[in-house]
């Protein structure tokens, strides 16, 4: 279901972190929900909770485990399969030699874990993001943005809240969801 949403961003000058935190509080008091409706955007990784925001929940730790399991299985099948399919004794080593198989299975396991972790990072970061919504280039220069993405009827109130909170600039945009 494609639905166009309005979005708005209030940007605050650098060093106005407390004002931003107040603006976030005001949005919360105004009945907006964090993450789904409003978010803080920064160009720097601040310590968690500086703006009074929620701690983001994620399930990244599952990915490497799944990846490792997949990699391990692929490694096992590949090493045992090729040895059984072409049972040529070399160097007096048994067919299905465990130590060499362990080496390749280990690499497979790690490769699987890493590939899945990278995938997990991208998915859990909610990337790639096709529509930027309201955004301001100054964020990567130290300004702090508070963006609200919501339905048409709730956007005006959000703009009002951001204005009152003392945003240095406001921009509007739209987004599909």
């Amino acid at each position: 279901m494609m639905q166009t949403k309005r979005s708005i961003i209030g940007v605050f000058k650098p060093n106005r972190e407390n004002t931003v935190a107040d603006a976030m509080d005001a949005l919360k008091a105004g009945g907006y929900t964090e993450d789904t409706e409003y978010e803080v955007l920064t160009g720097t990784p601040y310590p968690e909770g500086v703006f009074g925001e929620n701690e983001p929940k994620h399930a990244l730790f599952r990915y490497p485990l799944i990846g490792a399991a997949c990699g391990f299985i692929v490694g096992l099948v590949l090493t045992s399969g090729t040895q059984l399919a072409y049972p040529l004794v070399t160097g007096g080593k048994p067919i299905l030699s465990i130590p060499p198989m362990a080496i390749i299975m280990y690499e497979g396991t790690m490769l699987g874990a890493i590939l899945f972790t990278v995938l997990g990072i991208i998915i859990e970061s909610r990337l790639p993001r096709l529509f930027m919504g309201a955004y301001d280039e100054r964020i990567t220069e130290g300004w702090i943005g508070v963006t609200v993405t919501t339905s048409e009827d709730r956007i005006a109130k959000a703009e009002d809240i951001l204005n009152k909170a003392g945003a240095d600039d406001l921009k509007r945009g739209w987004e599909k969801s």
Binding site: P47, G92, P99
Partner: protein
Amino acid sequence: MPSNGHNGHAAEAVVLTQAQVQEDLQEKHERSRGQTFRVAVGLFSVLLVLGIIGFILRVVDGVSDTAKWGYYAAAFAFVLSTAGAAPMVAIAPRIAKAHWPRPISRSAELFSIVGLFNLLVFIPLLWVLPPLEQGRRTLWFFGSVGEPVPNYSPHIWATLAMLALVVVGVLLVWMSALPDIAALRDRLPQGTRKQKMYAWLARGWKGTSAQWFMQKHRLGILGAFYFAMLIFLHFLISVDFLMTLVPGWIDALYPATHVANALQGGVASVMLTMVIMRQWGGYKNEIGLDQFWGLGKLLFALSLLWIWFFFSSFIIFWFGKKPNEVSVIELFIKGPYLPIFYAEFVLTFFFPLVFMIWNPIRKSIWGPTILSIAVLAGTFFGRIRMYVASYSVADQSALHAIETVPATVMPGIADVFIVLGVIGGSILTYLLASRIIPIMSIWEKKEMLMYEVHRPLHRIHVRILGKPD
């Protein structure tokens, strides 16, 4: 991204003054001679007596048959590997200027006193180890180079290295404790015997800037020296007292493996000591998640090091398949000590791996505790496996390889007594040492108060740590 202190340091940290810390820790040091302490001392004294009985039983059989002394050597090596390496927990982070080990650095250094006891345990081994003229392969090229080296080269060098390690270790813990000893000197009533002892031990410590400056440098240099001696001693012991007894066992990595296993055992020992101090010593407020988290990570890393070193040696032998290599694998891994090898493998590597990859376990107190017990047990089995197997080899002077792999040597009652006695005696030494020297470094705790600050940062509190130059 540093968190806002969900683990609770930041928000509810109670900041004590230096005087409060001093008072509190000194009081705890004096209180430590409670009922529990006496019971422990009694128990370990009994074990020590058992050990002496076991030793007498062994000596009656004479020292000429190394096979009979395998368990004795293993017990010695176990203490060397755990207590000997434990001070590294204090030394290494000090070089890296980390703050978290401050509450546990003394309990780690105190292990070097155990070296005094282990030095006694070492002496009989000098008689057990055959001289070079018997014809085994040796590090000293006896008979291979022009000018003959002394027949007892291994005995001489290992003894010197052992002495050096113990002396440096005792100096290390003494010097590190100077400011605390001085504090005890000032606190005890003048003229008592105890006060006089502390006055002597304090070596006129007053706390001048020059003395503090010296203190920092002394600890750095002694620490580095201790580490160097530790490596050197492990090199000598693992070759002269172990590898040379097995013909055809040529493993260039093994001395490093011996040290790595020892570091693992040392970290596990400190961790277990921490648990005991927290649980029964009254140090619940001082030792917290920070310390368990720091040491837990280290222990986990060392478990991974274990498998890497093991496999690095194993694959060469397995692939090479020379007769000597086949027999070495047979002796230590596949043959008479297979169950012990499995136990070691599981306890020192496999269990830590599957256990510690879970965040909630790693970031807890009980997780690393269980891990440290497992690793200690694994280290113990490891030493049994290597030493008992090596000492049981009959044809030590065979040229290329063991001709027959000896059968499993099961421990007799004397061996059980010896092992219990050596471990009990070590713990007893530690307990007695902790009566004299405070088990928690008071000055390092007080110093920490200066470098740790909790500050508000907008909506959160952050912990800020200073790093002095």
